[in-house]
Structure formats: C-alpha cells, structure tokens
Amino acid sequence: MPARLKLFMPLILFIILAVFLVRGLSLDPKELPSALIDKPFPEFSLSALGSSEVLDKAAVSGEVALFNVWATWCISCRAEHPYLTELAKRGVAIYGINYKDEDAAALAWLDELGDPYLASIADHDGTLGLDLGVYGAPETYLVDANGLVRYRHVGVVNERVWSNVLQPIYEQLKNGKAN
C-alpha cells in the first residue's frame, strides 16, 4: 500500500503546486498596500500652488477627504481629472498634491480643465510624496477626520474605482464620524 501511495506522490505534489499557481494568477503583484494605512498623514509645510500661502497638515485635516497626487507630466492624471471634478461637485472633499511639477504648468492645467481641489499643495521636490510613499502619479489617499490614512489607490480614480472601492470606505468613515 505505501508503494501505491508513492506512485501518487508526483500527482499530489503537482496539485499542491497548481493550487499555488492558480492563486497567483488572480493576485496583482502591482498592488502594494501603503505602509501608512491607519497611520497619521505625514506632517508637512509646503506652499499652496501659485501663492505664497503656506499649507500644513492642520490646514487640510478635520474632515474625511481624498488627497490626489497629480502632475501635468502624468498622462493618466488628465484622464482622471474630469471624474475628480465630478466628485468635487458631489461634495467630496479633495485636496490636490501637485507632485514634482512646475507651478505655471499646473496652474494653466487647472485653469483649462477646472479645479476640483479645496486646496493644492505644491510639492515641488516630492518631499511630501516621499513621506507618503508615492511612487508614481496618480495616487489617491483616503484620509479620515482624525488625519489617519485609511486607503491608498494607485492609478486612475474613475466611476468603477470610486463606487467599488473608495466610496464604501468613504461612506463608512463619514458615517462613523456622524455617530
């Protein structure tokens, strides 16, 4: 009987391997959880886009908000922009982090396409981006009323991402605050 079992060993090993490989097919290796989940949004002190006003963490916290990392050199950001404008119209608080960009180009962009942001942080050198763990634009962070980072979405925010991923967390955080 053990000899019989030995004959089946390759099959058993194959099945175990196959289970892992099949699981691997449905995993997205590009999906990196942010290291900042449930940790405070980093402190910063940077000028507002196109003005001498200095923004810090206190100026942009206090309510559930999205922090959208964008730049004029980022092509997907242009695709994302109309949907952010739409979200802003629906009353979602969105702050912009203009990541490693030129002020003039960024202002022209907002002039042309509309400005969905409550405030725009000009992160010329990417220091805030570094503290946030940004590795490419666009990225969007969902921050709660206590200034804790709750979710990070890498890539374009569109209708599908909003209603499937971000909105449920957003609503939950909003309602949690109301209670």
Partner: protein
C-alpha cells in the same frame, strides 16, 4: 577634422552620463555602504529591479535620499527603517526576520532537510530491498529446487 572627431567622440559619451548620476562621497566607506544599500533596496515602481539598477524617477529620488542620509551619518538600519516606514517591507530585497517572513527564511533549511531525509530513506529502503532478495527462505528454496528439477527432467 580633429575638432569634428573629438566632438563626435564627446557626444558618444553622453549616454554614459545619462544612465545614472554619480555622487561624491566624503568617505569611501560611505560609498561602499551606498552601493550595498542601493543594491538591497527595491524600486517601488519597477518592482523587479533594485534602486541601483533602475532608472525610474522614484529610484533617482531614493538614491539621492540614500546619499543624503549617508552623508548625514544615518546607520544602515535607520535608513532601511526610514524606507520601510514609507514604502513598506516591500522595498527590502532582504526582508527582516519576523512572524510573516519566518517561512521565507526557513524554507531553504526545511527543503534541504526534507531532501536529505528523503534521500536517506530511499537509500535505506533500497538496501533493505536488496537484503531480502539475496536470501531465499527455506520454503522458497524448496520451490526453486522443485522447478529446477522439473525443468531438468523435461529435457
């Protein structure tokens, strides 16, 4: 002609400058640590390259940061922790030894032990198998004798 040639040669060297920036270290020990750390830290954007090999903007930023921190006198562990705090355990090609990574670290040992165990068991089994075939039991010897006798008488 010489001028044109030297201009062409000069232009040919441009790609070499473009690939990766160089930093002047105040101490050659720092440069060594820079090399080691930049090979150990993984580019968050490109994922299968370390920051030493990657030309992604984020890797350039991280190399600059690494340089600055080394010059400021940060220890290797402080720098690693700084990166992990921002980009997660993911940025380390050599993950720390913790509950999550214990299997990762132990797997080579476990597999080696399992391999040796299987090899030993197989060899012992084979020896036993040959031992049993060498000696026939009394009954078997009688049987064999009967068969041989039968074959002989048939000739």
């Amino acid at each position: 002609m010489v001028r044109i040639c030297s201009l062409v040669l000069l232009l040919l060297t441009l790609p070499a400058l473009a690939v990766i920036e160089t930093y002047e270290f105040s101490d050659s020990a720092l440069e060594k640590r820079y090399r080691a750390l930049s090979e150990e830290l993984r580019c968050p954007k490109c994922q299968n390259q370390n920051i030493a090999d990657s030309n992604a903007p984020i890797s350039q930023d991280l190399r600059r940061l690494l340089y600055e921190q080394l010059e400021q006198g940060a220890s290797d562990d402080e720098i690693r922790q700084y990166m992990v705090d921002r980009y997660g355990e993911f940025v380390r090609y050599r993950p720390s030894f913790s509950g999550v990574t214990i299997f990762l670290w132990m797997a080579p040992m476990l597999l080696l032990t399992a391999g040796v165990a299987i090899a030993v068991m197989t060899l012992l089994g084979r020896k036993q198998a040959t031992d049993t075939t060498e000696a026939l039991s009394e009954e078997e010897q009688l049987k064999l004798k009967a068969i041989l006798d039968k074959a002989e008488s048939n000739q």
